[in-house]
């Protein structure tokens, strides 16, 4: 797959997948963590 350029194409797509996974994970985690914190403080 991808012939002699596989060593460049596969890392390019792999890096893209990792960066997107990171952006999704960090963004959702940040929002969930602070929403939970706010709800905890509001309940007190």
């Amino acid at each position: 797959m991808f012939g002699k350029y596989a060593q460049f194409i596969i890392p390019a797509f792999a890096v893209t997948a990792v960066v997107f996974a990171g952006m999704i994970g960090f963004s959702l985690n940040h929002a969930r963590r602070w929403r939970k914190r706010f709800e905890e403080l509001s309940d007190k």
Partner: protein
């Protein structure tokens, strides 16, 4: 743009809107990327670039987004600085890490395309250097916000940095015209129309829309997170005073 300050001045309206808009943009991004990647992987090899043309479908949209997000950062910073809208400031703060990530992606994927095509991972070409400066501006914005205890002072200083840094955007865009660069000129947004063959143009445009929808979704999620953080900190302060 008169709707923007009114919209940004109402966090409740924003939270209600973003609650359904963020997942909707996310689903749209996945659908567009699925079709774009399918068309990209089934497109024929380029007569010059061979299989490496497939890197273009992930590199070029990342480069577009790196600049588009800076425009968003600049507009949000301007609104935060002039109108002192807390939500505009949250939008600017939320955009910066995403902009840095997309710019890093453009640099890395471009480098992986450049090695087989140019014979080098990196050259100090005007386009590459100005995009590296863009990445450093994002990093400086994030670092400046994190460096001050007074959040309002940090927000003002970072907004000024963002606005001053906007001068880099036309430099990036016109760098391939102003200087004799190794990086090729624009092949999509041209006065005489795109120079790309439709078999490459359509997957590229679909991937561009997918990246845009993904950014829209992630930006809304991050702004929501920032709103929750500020509300939590205000609640903690109220609890400490009580």
């Amino acid at each position: 743009m008169t709707w923007a300050p009114a919209f940004l001045s109402n966090p409740e309206r924003f939270m209600a809107f973003s609650r359904w808009a963020a997942p909707l943009f996310g689903v749209l991004a996945i659908a567009l990327a699925a079709v774009g990647l399918y068309l990209g992987f089934t497109a024929p090899d380029d007569y010059q670039q061979g299989q490496t043309v497939r890197i273009m479908f992930i590199h070029v949209p990342a480069a577009w987004l790196s600049m588009f997000i800076y425009v968003c950062l600049g507009v949000a910073s301007f609104l935060a600085l002039i109108f002192r809208h807390a939500l505009a400031d949250a939008a600017a703060q939320a955009a910066a890490p995403l902009g840095a990530a997309f710019t890093a992606l453009a640099l890395v994927t471009g480098s992986l395309w450049g090695r087989p095509m140019w014979g080098a991972y990196w050259v100090w070409d005007a386009r590459l250097t100005s995009v590296l400066v863009l990445f450093l501006l994002y990093v400086a914005y994030i670092a400046l916000r994190a460096s001050m205890d007074d959040e309002q002072k940090a927000a003002r200083a970072a907004a000024i940095l963002a606005l001053v840094g906007a001068i880099n955007l036309p430099i990036i865009h016109f760098s391939v015209d102003w200087w004799n660069t190794l990086h090729q000129g624009s092949s999509v947004f041209r006065a005489d129309g795109p120079s790309l063959a439709p078999v490459f143009l359509y997957p590229l445009l679909l991937m561009g829309l997918a990246y845009m929808a993904a950014f829209g979704s992630l930006w809304l999620v991050r702004i929501r997170g920032e709103v929750w953080r500020r509300r939590a900190e205000a609640a903690a302060l109220r609890a400490a005073r009580a």
